[in-house]
């Protein structure tokens, strides 16, 4: 890929990026959120058309106008959200639409299973071709995906965070399969945030930052330190500059967690959150960041431990209980969990206020409109009208609607899970200012983010999670810069 450029509605997300991967090579593609990794790969997969630049495969220039044409050219993506049919067997999935047939033209499942079995054995994958895919674990499903791609003569495999949902032993199994793939001359593009894995598995590394190419190096010339430097760079985003703040931690904490464990993987979490404080939660994917938010908000049940508010035990068994206690969550996935996309801005904004807006059994619509107008103005939500479906708003404005609907409940504790994912730069700094303002007003804020710059810019204290436990708890003042926080997070890997 040479000189690739791509812009979305005038915003440049990729600018003159070149990237190449050789047969039999594992090439890691690195960069922070919004660096352009996934856009670059979506161009290679044929999902997005490129604005400028060329793609060559085996030295020949190709047009990858659709995922189908990319597949025809041997480019295959191993999806994070797997693209398998859970009710079909492993063999049926691998050869979907390319089934073996008997002489009479009927499907021949036995021949199919034999072919699948041979392919899996060749890869060293221990999965029964007759097993139903829905009953397999995440690791096996991923391997089936890989087998499926190879059966379609894929020569370039793109793996996006392939180890995010894998256990340690499964990661090793995956790495050994990657080794076999390389022997077969398959080129692998490996996207991850886990730098230890990069060192273990990649031959070369390409780093992107803000849509530009930082550089491509052989892994042998690098160590984790050097990688962090490449990824973070030296420029600090002006928008996320941090102001000094002091927090009074002498009284009773607003929110306390004591030895909280959940079936979702949290183990013995202790946490005190004071009024006026912003605590940042960092950690790699799968470290329990979102699980912590869900547990406090009553989405997932606790298996042990307790949650206290102002020193008193609070029973939170569903989100409604948490809201009653003044705890709110701006969830990770705003489209699925935060918004009713087909409903209007006003309806979404007032969804959390229904009981408060009820007068004598009826909703006070004028007051609802009033509240919505106030928050649209206060947060500067750009929408044509209050009746516009939120589906039509930009990502940043959608996120503001989610924030607004929670601010309108006048909460005491705000949990923000990835508050700026898919949000443009200017909105990011607006959201950061807003969060700081909330802390000034005496609210307690928990900011969960995979964007370490964001954690550093906002937090007074930072918790680093690792495998559902608190690995480190540091004061913001003790973390010098982003590379240092990066190291803390990576050592938790």
């Amino acid at each position: 890929m040479t000189g690739i450029a791509k812009a979305f509605s005038g915003v440049t997300v990729l600018d003159d990026v070149s990237f190449d991967v050789r047969a039999g090579e594992t090439h890691a593609l690195l960069g922070g959120n919004g660096a352009g990794k996934s856009t670059l790969m979506k161009i290679l997969e044929g999902v997005y058309a490129l604005d400028r630049g060329t793609i060559e495969i085996d030295g020949e220039r190709v047009e990858l106008a659709s995922p189908q044409s990319a597949r025809r050219h041997g480019v295959a993506m191993i999806f994070q959200e797997l693209s398998l049919v859970p009710t079909l067997t492993v063999a049926q999935n691998i050869y979907l639409t390319r089934e073996s047939r008997t002489r009479g033209g009927l499907l021949d499942d036995r021949a199919l299973e034999r072919r699948a079995g041979e392919l899996l054995a060749e890869l060293g994958v221990d999965v029964d071709p007759r097993a139903e895919v829905g009953r397999l674990g995440a690791a096996s499903m991923q391997l089936v995906e890989i087998a499926k791609a190879l059966s379609q003569d894929a020569r370039v495999l793109i793996m996006d965070e392939p180890t995010a949902s894998l256990a340690r032993s499964e990661v090793e199994a995956l790495f050994s399969i990657i080794g076999r793939l390389k022997e077969r001359g398959i080129a692998i593009v490996y996207i991850t945030h886990r730098l230890e894995e990069v060192m273990a598995v990649a031959d070369r590394v390409t780093v992107l930052r803000d849509g530009r190419l930082v550089g491509t190096r052989p892994t042998s010339e690098l160590d984790v330190e050097a990688l962090i430097e490449l990824i973070v760079g030296t420029a600090v985003e002006q928008a996320l500059e941090r102001g000094e703040r002091t927090v009074d931690r002498s009284g009773t904490p607003l929110l306390s967690l004591r030895a909280v464990s959940t079936p979702t993987g949290l183990e013995g979490i202790d946490l005190d959150l004071y009024a006026g404080e912003i605590v940042g939660i960092a950690g790699l994917m799968g470290s329990g960041r979102s699980e912590l938010a869900r547990a406090i908000f009553g989405v997932d049940a606790l298996s042990a431990g307790e949650i206290r508010l102002r020193g008193e035990r609070a029973r939170i068994r569903r989100p409604a209980d948490a809201i009653e206690h003044g705890i709110v969550l701006v969830p990770e996935d705003r489209r699925r969990q935060g918004l009713v996309l087909g409903h209007s801005v006003e309806r979404n904004l007032t969804l959390t206020l229904l009981r408060r807006l009820t007068r004598g059994g009826l909703l006070d619509e004028d007051e609802g409109v009033g509240v919505a107008e106030r928050y649209v103005a206060r947060l500067g939500i750009r929408t044509r009208s209050l009746d516009t479906p939120v589906r039509r708003l930009s990502g940043g404005n959608q996120q503001k609607v989610v924030l607004a609907k929670w601010l309108a409940t006048e909460p005491e504790v705000l949990i923000l899970d990835e508050p700026t994912v898919g949000v443009d730069i200017s909105t990011r700094s607006e959201i950061a200012d807003l969060v700081r303002g909330l802390a000034e007003q005496g609210k307690a804020v928990l900011v969960i983010s995979s964007e370490l710059a964001e954690v550093l810019a906002l937090a007074d204290r930072i918790l680093v999670l690792r495998e559902g436990r608190i690995h480190r708890c540091v004061s913001r003042a003790d973390v010098a810069d982003e590379p240092e926080l990066h190291r803390l997070v990576q050592e938790a890997a």
Binding site: L329, G338, L351, D366, A377, R384, S385
Partner: protein
């Protein structure tokens, strides 16, 4: 930020006038259909007030059930058992009136609906079963029970007061069935448009997870819409009983399809999240209008079915295109 205010069009204006585009199509279709029938069937007596009141009377049971099913579909669930529950309720009510009197009879009918609805709701919410399958099963159970306990025989209702209130009588110039319809639509409309409950129903249907994350009691909402649907269906069954002065297992048979058609014609999304009670009434009246017009045209029942099916498909297709 002050410039932003200018971008917002005045939203505090008469909100009642804001009508969904798809509903507009329904209104237009309704008027066009009416005009066509009025022009072509004027001599057959289509436009007489008697005939028009008749249309409302004949569609009353469908309209009443459609109000409750609007909530069910709005919450992204479905209830296929309404017709069968209406039939069973008509039978239970008639038998209880015969044995214990009018008031116990009415209570027995309503109670039956509430119990069936509670079972449907519990299976959907408690066991997480799809409402389609739960209510499909319940359709068979209710219908079979009604036929079995009556030996397929009609159960006459001899109480004039019951028959008058539920269907046969008039209040002044207005048939009681028209009043039942009006009351059901009024209550349903206010509940859906003007209460936290109605908003919660639409949020649950629009995105259940986001609604739950927003503190909407989604489980309670799903249970109550199922429960209300069966209870209202039971009342509709008693309207059949009053109009036809008897309870019979066949009353309401197949109505679930007319009810669902009416609700969808009325602009409610089959996938939930968007719903209209007034639209459902119009949808129901439109089906009644078609039936009436085709009968006056002298079409046979078989031909009527074909034309009705075609018109419904056409109407929904038109509404989708907008």
């Amino acid at each position: 930020m002050t410039g932003l205010q200018g971008l917002l069009r005045p939203v505090a204006g008469p909100r009642a006038l804001r009508i969904d585009v798809r509903q507009n199509i329904l209104y237009v279709g309704f008027v066009v259909l009416f005009a066509v029938f009025a022009a072509t069937l004027g001599d057959e007596g289509f436009t007489t007030s008697n005939n028009l009141l008749n249309i409302i009377r004949q569609t009353a049971t469908i309209s009443v059930m459609a109000v409750a099913v609007t909530f069910v579909i709005g919450a992204a669930e479905i209830d296929l058992s309404v017709g069968a529950v209406a039939g069973l309720a008509s039978v239970i009510c008639a038998m209880a009136i015969d044995s214990y009197g009018v008031v116990p009879g009415i209570l027995a009918g309503v109670l039956l609906g509430a119990v069936v609805g509670a079972i449907n709701g519990s299976l959907v919410v408690g066991l997480g079963m799809p409402s389609f399958l739960v209510t499909l099963g319940m359709l068979g159970i209710a219908h079979g029970t009604a036929q079995w306990i009556t030996d397929s025989a009609p159960q006459p209702i001899l109480s004039d007061s019951f028959n008058n209130v539920f269907g046969s009588g008039d209040l002044g110039p207005i048939p009681s069935l028209v009043i039942w319809t009006a009351v059901a639509v009024a209550i349903g409309h206010v509940l859906l448009r003007r209460t936290a409950y109605g908003r919660g129903v639409l949020a649950t249907g629009g995105n259940e997870e986001a609604a739950r994350f927003s503190g909407v009691p989604t489980r309670r909402i799903k249970f109550t819409v199922m429960m209300a649907s069966s209870t209202v269906a039971a009342i509709a069954g008693m309207l059949y009983a009053g109009r036809l002065q008897s309870g019979r297992f066949q009353w309401g048979e197949g109505d679930e399809l007319s009810v669902i058609a009416a609700v969808i014609l009325g602009g409610t999304s089959l996938f939930g999240g968007r719903a209209s009670v007034v639209g459902a009434l119009l949808g129901s009246l439109m089906i009644g209008l078609i039936n009436n017009g085709l009968t006056l045209m002298g079409l046979e029942f078989s031909q009527q079915q074909i034309v009705r099916g075609a018109i419904i498909i056409l109407a929904v297709a038109l509404a989708r295109r907008v």
